[in-house]
């Protein structure tokens, strides 16, 4: 088989087509990045402010997707589903904070890991009991089902553009909230010195519950938006959770700005690596080998990125208490 029968980018494809493809892949990377941001913003807030390692963060993503899919299917309205998903994720989050996590603040990280790992299993089994073992169906709402040609010649799904838009809006909202509102200031105060903030009359307990609820609400939003693209199934949170942890380690634990930069970086590196690594390796390896090697290297790329960043900046790119 000659090289030209392979239509991969970089091998006998005109330059402008390659450029279009690169732009499209950057959009894909951006979309993965903002989804990761929604997850990691919540996780990093909870870790930075409450010093709790919450492995069950992926479960709230799953709850958002399940509740969203169910309400959307029953009511026929995507927006109603979205509202229900956000409410459910936030409410369950605050309940979990009040019932389980509140007992763990003073404990060792090992206890927190064990307890929240237990929560993962609890929620996975609960969804199986409530919704059964088969994945749920969820479709893109009709008004977002088309494709937009933002790049001429390549229709890009409008839903994915909407996801990018929502993610950027949330980033802006979080920035404004933390930098310019009273509650944001109180949260930051609670993060830097819990006792002192409490002594100044801030209700730290309430702040913690609210922060946790906000974090799980964002996870629920990410899950709801992923529903039409992905399989809504028990355990869906765990696959994104690992990437989320990579993001917050790269960005600097506890820093929302760091989470934003880290998420976009991870989204880009992962997407572009998967997209262009095969073409790169075909330059100097036989095609059959190149695809296998590229697949392996591409799936390692974000971990390599994490290793490099940790060597260069052990506290992450934008640490919270720099």
């Amino acid at each position: 088989m000659s090289c030209t029968t392979y239509g991969h980018p970089g091998n006998g494809v005109p330059f402008y087509v390659l450029m279009l493809l690169i732009i499209e892949q950057i959009l894909n990377g951006l979309q993965l990045g903002v989804t990761l941001f929604l997850m990691s913003a919540g996780l990093t807030l909870i870790f930075g402010i409450m010093q709790v390692i919450n492995l069950a963060h992926g479960s709230f993503y799953m709850i958002g997707a399940y509740v969203g899919a169910t309400v959307t299917a029953r009511s026929g309205s995507f927006l109603l589903g979205l509202l229900a998903a956000l409410l459910a994720a936030a409410l369950v989050g605050m309940l979990v904070e009040a019932i389980v996590l509140r007992r763990l603040y003073k404990k060792d990280h090992v206890d927190q890991v064990l307890a929240t790992f237990g929560l993962i299993m609890f929620f996975n089994e609960l969804t199986r009991i409530v919704w059964g073992r088969q994945p749920l169906f969820m479709d893109v709402p009709a008004w977002l089902s088309g494709a937009v040609e933002i790049i001429p010649g390549i229709p890009y799904p409008s839903y994915r553009i909407a996801v990018i838009g929502v993610g950027l809006l949330v980033a802006l909202f979080l920035y404004l909230m933390f930098a310019h509102t009273r509650i944001g200031m109180q949260i930051r105060a609670g993060a830097s010195n819990r006792e002192m903030a409490g002594a100044l009359g801030i209700n730290i307990k309430l702040i913690y519950t609210l922060v946790f609820g906000l974090g799980t609400l964002l996870a629920g939003l990410a899950g709801m938006m992923a529903g039409p693209i992905l399989a809504v199934e028990a355990g869906m949170g765990e696959s994104i959770l690992i990437l989320t942890f990579v993001v917050i380690v790269i960005g600097g634990i506890g820093s929302v700005r760091g989470a934003f930069v880290g998420a976009l970086l991870v989204g880009m590196v992962d997407t572009l690596g998967r997209a262009f690594m095969p073409a790169f390796f075909r330059l100097f390896l036989p095609i059959a080998h190149a695809d296998g090697v590229a697949a392996s290297i591409a799936s390692m790329s974000i971990y390599i990125l994490m290793a490099i960043i940790l060597v260069w900046r052990p506290k992450g790119l934008l640490p919270a208490h720099a």
Partner: protein, 389 residues
């Protein structure tokens, strides 16, 4: 006191012989009921249980007791359960494993211990070729079978430039190899994705740029749902036909994929619409019992149970006659829901393989419709490598 003692001794002595006559044959089922793939084990188990229920707790007229345990898709855990079944429960017949990597870890030790294993799903090449064993039977398929049938169909339909996609793990490569065994055209790209990957946007963009005339993918479970949904959201399902083995198109997954899978042609050894008396009866009974349409996995569980029943009948439930039991299994003297069914020399099925299409079921859902048999009485590529004593 002495009298009481005597009564007790007598009681203990009598107990085993008293229960012997009615003691059911134990069948150990190690299957996957938890994790994302848990519905696969549920289907196999429900199909198997249906066969037992239809005979009022018997198989082949012999009372049986089905022991079911969940392996959580974990080879280590599955091994422990299999050990426990053999040592504590003295099980002589086992079945149930869903995943090939789990089967490769568990089956060799089981069959070496002179316990019969009847696979209702996993059919890795390692157990079909050199690693075949007289105590190992596969009633479902050799893993590549469902890819071979698609390969042959795609080739006959005149496709010349097909794009291949599978997860980057041994089974992924095996399945693509099965497709390529019968597909002779050019390959527009052969992409191995991360196992468990959820976002396929980069692969789909690269695929569009490669301009193939067809796509063949093996992405079981949630991965397949993700891929098809995203493929159709990118608008490609209107221009590039999609093919794959049945694993991404069973009736329960189709519910989660929705209209995105409409028109996809996929390969299977069985579909609920096969016009065979045993099958019509099975599908009706399964719907009645569980309120859903059976998937291929349920049919495999059902066939496994009925195959075991046919063998139990011939030895009248005496599982200590291992040679006779094995010989009876090899005859495959049961009415398969697939119609014609026999075992090849490596004790894997010789059966018809079909191409089917995803269509609307008329009740708002989606289902498969058999188009045609591409292979009749098809065996597998590993028969010659199997040297059974």
């Amino acid at each position: 006191m002495k009298k009481l003692f005597m009564v007790l001794v007598l009681f203990i002595l009598l107990l085993p012989s008293a229960t012997w006559a009615t003691k059911p044959v134990k069948i150990g089922m190690v299957t996957t009921l938890s994790t994302k793939a848990g519905y696969l084990g549920e289907e196999v188990r429900d199909g198997f249980k249906l066969a037992i229920a239809q005979e009022d707790g018997k198989l082949g007229g012999v009372p049986v007791e089905l022991l079911v345990e969940d392996d959580g898709r974990d080879p280590g855990k599955a091994k422990q359960i299999a050990d426990r079944f053999m040592k504590r429960d003295d099980v002589k017949i086992m079945t149930g494993l869903i995943f090939s990597n789990v089967a490769i870890a568990v089956v060799p030790k089981v069959v070496r211990s002179e316990v019969l294993y009847i696979s209702p799903n996993a059919g890795p090449s390692a157990l079909a070729g050199k690693g075949c064993n007289k105590n190992y039977f596969n009633v479902a398929y050799q893993n590549d079978n469902l890819d071979e049938v698609v390969g042959k169909y795609v080739n006959e339909a005149g496709f010349k430039n097909v794009y291949l996609l599978a997860p980057n793990y041994p089974a992924g490569k095996d399945h693509l190899a099965g497709f390529k065994r019968y597909y002779k055209g050019a390959i527009a790209g052969e992409v191995y994705t991360k196992l468990g990957q959820s976002d396929y946007a980069p692969e789909i963009a690269a695929l569009r740029a490669a301009k193939p005339d067809g796509v063949f993918f093996f992405l079981p479970g949630g991965m397949g749902i993700n891929f098809i949904k995203q493929f159709s959201q990118a608008g490609l399902n209107k221009t590039i036909p999609v093919f794959g083995p049945a694993f991404s198109f069973d009736e329960r997954l189709l519910g989660a994929v929705g209209a995105a899978a409409l028109g996809v042609k996929n390969g299977s050894q069985w579909t609920h619409d096969l016009d065979v008396p045993a099958n019509r009866q099975f599908v009706a009974a399964f719907r009645e019992a569980y309120g859903r349409t059976p998937t291929l996995y349920a049919s495999q569980g059902y066939d496994a149970a009925r195959l075991i029943g046919s063998a139990l009948k011939s030895v009248e439930g005496d599982v200590s006659k291992l040679d006779a039991l094995r010989a009876a299994l090899r005859k495959a003297d049961f009415e398969s829901v697939r119609g014609e069914f026999a075992f090849a020399a490596n004790q894997h099925p010789v059966q018809n393989l079909y191409i089917r299409e995803v269509v609307e079921d008329g009740a708002g859902g989606y289902t498969n419709k058999t188009l045609k048999a591409v292979f009749t009485a098809h065996s597998n590529a590993y028969v010659d490598a199997c040297k059974m004593d």
